[in-house]
Symmetry: C2
Subunit: 499 residues, 2 copies
């Protein structure tokens, strides 16, 4: 089972697609499944997912989010009624039409997301302002079928996610939460996965169907020149409240007190989610020709200890020393493990744990034991250093923190090097061909984005579109015009092709 | 949202079915969903589920279980191939036949359990004895459709569960794990949910389809006279290994070394699961006419603190005292919360938290504050006692432990009072009509169980069947005969109708 292949057949810079498919399998992150677009998440992925969940759950509990589990299936009835919202998802919905040998009278949809599953019940539960805010989160899987070109973790038919759905009496509360959650998503990517992201607003075309506005964190994969949406935090405004008839009696508003009808106000809603895609983005960002490279904060094993046993050695002393090290590191809060398996060669073990991306490897042989030292090898740079056993915990902590920082800084430099600021259509198409992350002055009009898409549609590649309008806006000089239509520009926006 | 209804319309002893449907909704455990047999698990259920999960996850990590997530869907192909196994589940399988507007070439089944999803990959991952044991656990939901008479948590079309799937080189290892896991299930029921269960073997008719043998923990609901399977721990033997062709090269066996063909051995497998049904059994066991009664170890809130504010009181002092108490209890590891909402009457709050089954209520008024005491009210007995504030933590700990014990002891007495030891067919049918948990001497033959089922089939009620053959066997006197067929008895077994 754990016999990962030694070495990689493909190189990241030569054939990125094949390299990625190989690294996620060889590092035992996923296994391909016989249904195209479905993947088995192996312990190496699940443990990363659980580390992220631990952080996120603790943070949203501070925000008084509560755990729910809503059914996997939703009636066609609800789907039809909420057509506007479902339209975006319609081509992707998997339908259950039969149970046992019986045809169902009306089919059920497997949730592509849970708005339509949850909101009819929100309408039932919310009566007065005392019932607000309602804050709901669930960890589950959703199914969105039919990507013609699936990529493990990145574009899959089923994936794991958290989905938060919250209801407020006022827009101010909703607005504030949208940004609070977006900051948590930034931290997941930047502080845990060491992947640089841009916070920003989605365009009208790209926002969540039926919502008021969408914010997102956007990552970028230099090798492919493709942007990738990391997570979204949506303010739904009162749009879904209208569709699902979610009202509350707002006793606080004296102007409405005398009018029975007007006493009811529509609620304000948010929804936000991040998925196992985040793990895929991390793999793409840091992996190298030896396999996975894990940022220490999400590495299920941060330090692997490998005894170097010669055939004629008394193994007891070395194994004992290794066990002591594991214990000491664990007690210091470091996730360390020992590979004392006797039936694998040393070189195989080194390659195996490099393939799996473990940040630090500790080697010990008889000489080290005599010198009261160990050899520490970094996964990211391959650098080796001998460290006195007594200083080990302190050194390991420093090294792990340093690796975490350097992975982020390196990824950020690479990403930043791809950013190209343009101002004309010719510069735009040139940058697009160069696989750049394009920052362009834009009029922020839907028709113009449609037009850009139409004009850039490639054979194999998708068309160019807005990735986001970053919160962090460069100055927009008086008289700057839209790169695509020549009208006055209103924003700087990121454009490119994307996953 | 949180406006639970005050009081219960139905009484547990008068109309158990209606009482149960009411209590799970009013206590905000579940909400009915518009698809029959599907239910929304609300925070009060999810937090209990998470408390159980925390215990169980820590225990199975000691056993080196690893987290996996396998896809929700399985191809018809696999289902057809593994017909024998799937036959038992076939009537319950939900089929996806369409995605978007396209018919699928071959339909997908939503997993009713994951043997057929996982084992083809086990066959791929396992090569040599070095890959064993393989220990896999996943937390997910499964879908088993078509119960005509669904009951929230107890018999539902979709439910949450953990499913463990393990693979060993030897039967001894598999046997040992089956019992280890069963003991964890007993602890979940008895030590956490305070529900008495019997450990035992399932009969040939009742065992897991395709497995070698099934062990289970069995509970009993005195009000309905129905047994209920709490959880199962199955040894699959080598049966699934044959179907899914899961072999390993057993280098340890020198006798086989010279024969290339014989070097491969079939693995031994287990599978085991417990589900959200456990929460339903707990509700049925302890609930009363005021609502839910929660055993302290699984109560999301163990102590609710309610300030008794008179209209003309200075509320600051009392609220301050309440907050201090919450803090003190939380620091002592007790899950305490404050209900300081101003827009609810005191009596409503009392009823609300009684309905939700919180084990202890602490009331404080001005007089208590002056006397440096608080009033503590027990949910299980309604007993009230004034306790000096300085002694509070110690007292609360003792009370919570006492309530946990008493709930279990009371439930056990009630269950034991239902056990009827019988020896003849007439005694059997009389006991069955009396809703007893029947302990009967049995020949342990499949044909005889079939016969008993046929002879006891009622109009509305299901037929009688074996619940389990308890590990804890009374002496079987020489010459004891089977209650149903008169042949020599081989075991004492529990019989009855069941959920």
């Amino acid at each position: 089972m754990s016999t990962s292949k030694l070495g990689m057949a493909f190189k990241k810079d030569d054939n990125f697609g094949e390299w990625y498919s190989e690294v996620v399998v060889n590092s035992e992150i996923i296994e391909y499944h016989d249904i195209s677009g479905c993947y088995i998440l192996r312990p190496w992925a699940m443990e990363i997912w659980e580390l992220l969940k631990e952080f996120f759950d603790a943070e949203i509990k501070k925000l008084k989010l509560k755990s729910y589990y809503f059914p996997l299936l939703v009636t066609e009835n609800v789907v039809q009624k909420k057509k506007d919202h479902f339209e975006g998802f319609a081509p992707e919905v998997a339908w259950v039409t039969k149970t046992g040998k019986s045809e169902l009278e009306a089919p059920f949809a497997i949730r592509p997301t849970s708005e339509a599953v949850m909101y009819p019940y929100f309408a039932r539960w919310i009566r007065s302002h005392r019932d607000l805010p309602l804050r709901c989160n669930q960890w589950c899987s959703v199914v969105r079928w039919g990507c013609s070109n699936p990529i493990p973790l990145i574009r899959s038919s089923e994936f794991l996610l958290q989905e938060g759905h919250t209801v407020f009496a006022t827009k101010e509360e909703a607005d504030e939460e949208v940004l609070h959650i977006l900051e948590l998503y930034r931290r997941i990517y930047e502080e845990f996965l060491a992947v640089p992201v841009s916070k920003g607003w989605k365009s009208e075309m790209e926002k969540f169907a039926g919502g008021l506005y969408t914010t997102s964190v956007e990552a970028f994969i230099p090798n492919t020149g493709l942007g990738i949406q990391g997570a979204t935090s949506n303010c739904l405004g009162q749009n879904f409240a209208k569709i699902f008839e979610i009202f509350f009696e707002d006793e606080k508003d004296p102007a409405q007190k005398n009018n029975e009808k007007d006493k009811r106000s529509l609620v304000w809603q948010n929804s936000w989610a991040y998925t196992t895609r985040s793990i895929g983005v991390m793999v793409m960002t840091h992996g190298d020709d030896k396999g996975l490279v894990l940022p220490p904060r999400v590495a299920p094993i941060q330090v692997i200890i490998i005894p170097d046993l010669l055939e004629d050695t008394d193994t007891t002393a070395i194994n004992g020393a290794c066990e002591t090290i594991v214990c000491t590191l664990n007690q210091a809060g470091i996730r360390a493990d020992l590979d004392a398996r006797e039936n694998y060669y040393l070189e195989w073990k080194y390659s195996h744990w490099e393939m799996k991306g473990v940040p630090l490897r500790i080697e010990i042989d008889l000489k080290d034991l005599a010198n009261k030292q160990v050899r520490v090898v970094r996964r990211d740079k391959g650098a080796k250093v001998d460290i006195r056993s007594t200083d080990l915990v302190e050194h390991v902590k420093v090294l792990l923190a340093e690796i975490q920082d350097i992975l982020f800084e390196t990824a950020k430099e690479k990403r930043d090097a791809c950013i190209e600021v343009i101002s004309t259509w010719d510069e735009f198409t040139a940058a697009l061909n160069d696989k750049k992350l394009i920052l362009a002055p834009w009029c922020d009009e839907e028709e113009v984005e449609k037009d850009v898409r139409a004009r850039t549609e490639g054979a194999d590649l998708g068309s160019a579109k807005t990735l986001c309008t970053p919160f962090d806006q460069p100055d927009l000089m008086e008289g700057t015009v839209c790169f695509a239509c020549g009208k006055p520009a209103k924003t700087w926006s990121f454009w490119g092709r994307s996953y």
